[in-house]
């Protein structure tokens, strides 16, 4: 079983739609849940992260974690064409010395005007 599973998409939505991007993971030791955004021909950049279960909101973006079901979500409200990118989830353990970081394969999002 992969440590992180993520639907590759592409997910196509019209401008203004609410978008839901999801990941599942298998390691119950994960405590930090990162989302990276990667534009075409660029490297990933950190969008936001949450610690443990619950929600975190940042503008139009909301990250949600359900540790009981090992399910991670990223919601985008009022999606814009500039949100078109690949979104990678990256759950990880606590920062205690070196650890290998895992990434989902990424979901490609296309927001049409």
């Amino acid at each position: 079983q992969k440590e992180v599973e993520q639907d590759p998409g592409p997910l196509s939505v019209p401008e203004g739609a609410i978008v839901s991007l999801n990941c599942t993971y298998s390691n119950s030791a994960f405590q930090y849940f990162m989302w990276y955004r990667q534009y075409s021909r660029k490297g990933p950049e950190l969008l936001m992260y949450t610690y443990s279960s619950g929600n975190k909101e940042d503008g139009r973006f909301t990250a949600q974690v359900d540790k009981s079901s090992k399910y991670i979500s990223l919601f985008i409200r009022d999606s814009q064409p500039s949100d078109s990118a690949t979104y990678l989830c990256a759950p990880q353990g606590p920062n205690t010395g070196f650890q290998k970081l895992v990434f989902g394969t990424g979901t490609r999002l296309l927001v049409s005007p």
Binding site: Q6, P8, Q31, Y32, M34, R41, K42, G43, P44, E45, L46, Y49, Y51, L88, Q92, P94, N95, F98, Q99, K100, L101, F103, G104, T105, G106
Partner: protein, 116 residues
């Protein structure tokens, strides 16, 4: 603005050539990483370095080597390039201890290598 810079954005090489990919970071980070990214496979760790002259194999080190002679520079070397090494190569760095306990990687823009 802090940065990870990959000097070569696009390279085309021939099978058997030796290839050098350079990465420089200006954040005084201890840890540096090389990943390759392929459609459907996501990011796969090739090598990482937790300090100068220190290196550890990642998940797919075969056919690659690395060099870290200075803290800010981490080089990936393909000793004899093959067509299955055609890929996007991403360098990343992070500090030894992440702020707030999270490990945040800063990535470069990537180097797209085509081996003919």
């Amino acid at each position: 603005d802090v940065k990870v810079t990959q000097s070569s954005r696009y390279l085309v090489k021939r099978t058997g050539e030796k290839v050098f990919l350079e990465c420089v970071q200006d954040m005084d980070h201890e840890n540096m990483f090389w990943y390759r990214q392929d459609p459907g496979l996501g990011l796969r760790l090739i090598y990482f370095s937790y300090d100068v002259k220190m290196k550890e194999k990642g998940d797919i080190p075969e056919g690659y080597s690395v060099s870290r002679e200075k803290k800010e520079r981490f080089s990936l070397i393909l000793e004899s390039a093959s067509t299955n090494q055609t890929s996007m190569y991403l360098c990343a760095s992070r500090p030894l201890q992440g702020a707030g306990g999270a490990n945040v990687l800063t990535f470069g823009a990537g180097s797209r290598l085509t081996v003919l």
